[in-house]
Symmetry: C2
Subunit: 350 residues, 2 copies
Amino acid sequence: MRIVVDAMGGDQAPAAAVEGAFLAARAFGRPIVLVGRAPDIEAELARHGASGLDIAVAHAADVIGMNELSPAAAVRRHPDNSISHGLRMVRHGEAEAFVTAGHTGATMAAAALNLGRIHGVSRAAVATPFPTLGGPCILLDVGANVEVKPVYLLQFGIMGAILAERVLGIADPRVGLLTIGEERGKGTPAVQAALPLLERSNLNFVGNIEGRDIPSGNVDVAVTDGFTGNIIVKFAEGTGALVREILREAATGDPISMLGGLLMRSAWRRASQRMDYRAYGGATLLGVRGVVVIGHGRSDAEAVKTAIGVAVRAVENRLVAAIEAGVASTAGLASPVDDAPEPAPALAAS
Amino acid sequence: MRIVVDAMGGDQAPAAAVEGAFLAARAFGRPIVLVGRAPDIEAELARHGASGLDIAVAHAADVIGMNELSPAAAVRRHPDNSISHGLRMVRHGEAEAFVTAGHTGATMAAAALNLGRIHGVSRAAVATPFPTLGGPCILLDVGANVEVKPVYLLQFGIMGAILAERVLGIADPRVGLLTIGEERGKGTPAVQAALPLLERSNLNFVGNIEGRDIPSGNVDVAVTDGFTGNIIVKFAEGTGALVREILREAATGDPISMLGGLLMRSAWRRASQRMDYRAYGGATLLGVRGVVVIGHGRSDAEAVKTAIGVAVRAVENRLVAAIEAGVASTAGLASPVDDAPEPAPALAAS
C-alpha cells in the first residue's frame, strides 16, 4: 500500500504536510509519496532526518491556492497541480490513497476529472465527522451536491455507514435522515421520498432525525444534501470560534477568573480536543474510485498524520470495494430513472 | 397597548408564564391579559400579589401540548386552545400582541387560521436571534417554509431587517443570503434567483454569506429557507448542550480543575448568558397581522418577561405597519407570478 500526500495543500504547507507524512511513515510503516514542488518538499524533508523511512517525492509544478474561487476552472487550467497529479497516481495504480489538506472544491473537481466515480454511484459526497459526547457522528454530504434526488440520499446513507464501520470501527452504525421533524412527511420532497428507500435498505436506519441529533450522538451517520450539510459545517466552525473567544474573555476578565482559568488549563485543553473534529482526520470524499481524505485547511503535522491514518484504515478495510458492493445491493430499491448513474456530475460547490 | 400572554405555553407553564407576566407588568407598565385555564392562572397570580398591576385573565379551555406531533390538526380540533384564543384577541383588536412559550408549529398554524398574513406578504416566517461576539444575528426562516421561491427570500430579508431595526435597535442592519460560497452562482436555484432581487432592494444587502457568518456576526440578518434554518437552530441547541456538558466534565474531572471551575463560576455564568439566545426574547413570527413572539419552550419567568419586552417594542415601533410598507415597496422587483401572495400557506413544519 502506498499513500500519496499533497505536500502543497493547507495553510501550513509544505511544512505541516511534510512533517505529517514523516510522522505517519514512522507510525504506520507504510510507503508515502509526497506530491508537489520537489525542491520545496526536499528542503522540508531535509529538516526531519527522513532517511530510513520510505518517503518518495513526485514533482508537480502547479499549486491550487486555498482561496481559489473557481477551483474547477483552476484544476482544468493547471492539470499538473499537486492534487490532480496525486489523484492520477491513484488512478494508475501507483498508490492506493490520496491525502490533502488543500482546497475541498478543487479536490472534488480533480477527483471527478482524474479518478471517476465507483460503478453504480450516482454522486460523490464529502463526509465529515462531528464531535459528540460519544464517538463521532458522520455528516454527509457537506459540499458537492446542492440538489439531491432520493437515490442520492440513499447512497449517501450507504457510503456513510460503510465509512463509519470500516474506518471509525463503529459496528452496525445507526443512520438517520436529517430533516425538520421525526414524523413521516417532514422535509423537502427529496427527503420525504428518500425515507422509504432508506427504510427498505439493509442499513441500521433509525428514521428522520433533527439538527440536535448530530451533536447529541443519537446517530453515527446523518444524511443530508450538500447545501444543508455545507452550511452546518461552516456554522459549526464559526460557532467553535465564538465559543473559544467568549470563554477566553471569561477566563481573562478579572483576577479571580484568570486564576481559575490557569488552574483549568489542562482540563480545558482536553475539552477543546474533544470538540475538535480534526481529531478524526478530516473529511473523506466517498463514491470515487480511490480513497481520498481531505484534512482541514488549518491542519498541523499531527492532523496530517491523523488524516493519513484514516487513509491507511480505509485502504486496509477495502472502503472502495465495500461501497461498490453496498451500492450494488440496493440498486433495485429506487426507480430506474433515479437509479441510473448520470454521466456529468454536478460539482456545484467547486 | 395590551399584550396577551399564553399562560399555558412552555415546559414550566403556567408558573413561569404567570410570573413572567407579573414581572413584565411591573417593568413595562403595560396592561397584560393572561390567556388559558382561568383557575390555574388565578391560583398562580394569587402567589405573586399582583393587585395594583393591570393583569387580566381570559379563559380558554384547551391546551396544545408541547410535544404535539400534529399541531395544525390539534389547533383545528381544539379551537378554544389558549394560543388560538389569544391570537383571536389580537385579530379583534382586543390586544396588540401575543406572546407564548408554547408549541412553535401550533402557533404558526393558529396564526395562519386566526390572524392571517399582512397584505402583500407571500409567506409568514419565524425569525430567531443567534448570539455573536457583537449583537445578535437574526436568522429566518427557521420553521415555516420548507420550499421557497426567490420572492419569499427577498421578503424574509425585508422582514428580518425591519425586526432588527425596530425591535433590536440595529441601525441600517446588514442582510446576507445564506448559501455555500460568497461568489455569485452558489446555492440552490431559489437562492441564485433571490440574489439579484435582494441586490435591487433598498436593503443594506452584503450578498451571499456562509454558515460561519452567523456566529461571527458579519451580518445582522441571515436569510434562508425554513428547512435549512430549522436544522441550524436545532443543531445549535444540541451543540450548546454538548459544549456545556464537555465543559462541566472538564471542570469536575480532577481537584485542581474543580478549584479552577469554582473560581471561574461567575465568569462562566456571564459567558453562558452571552451564548444564550433566550436573552434576546425568543423567536418572532413575521408577516402575520399582529405581533407574535414565541419564547423558547424552556423559558423561565425572566425569559417570558424578556419575550414580552420584545412584543412591547414591536408594537411601540409599529413592526406590522413597517413590514406592510417594506413589502409593498419591493412589490415590483419580482415577476408577477412570484410576487402574488398565495391563498394557501403551506405550514410544512406544523
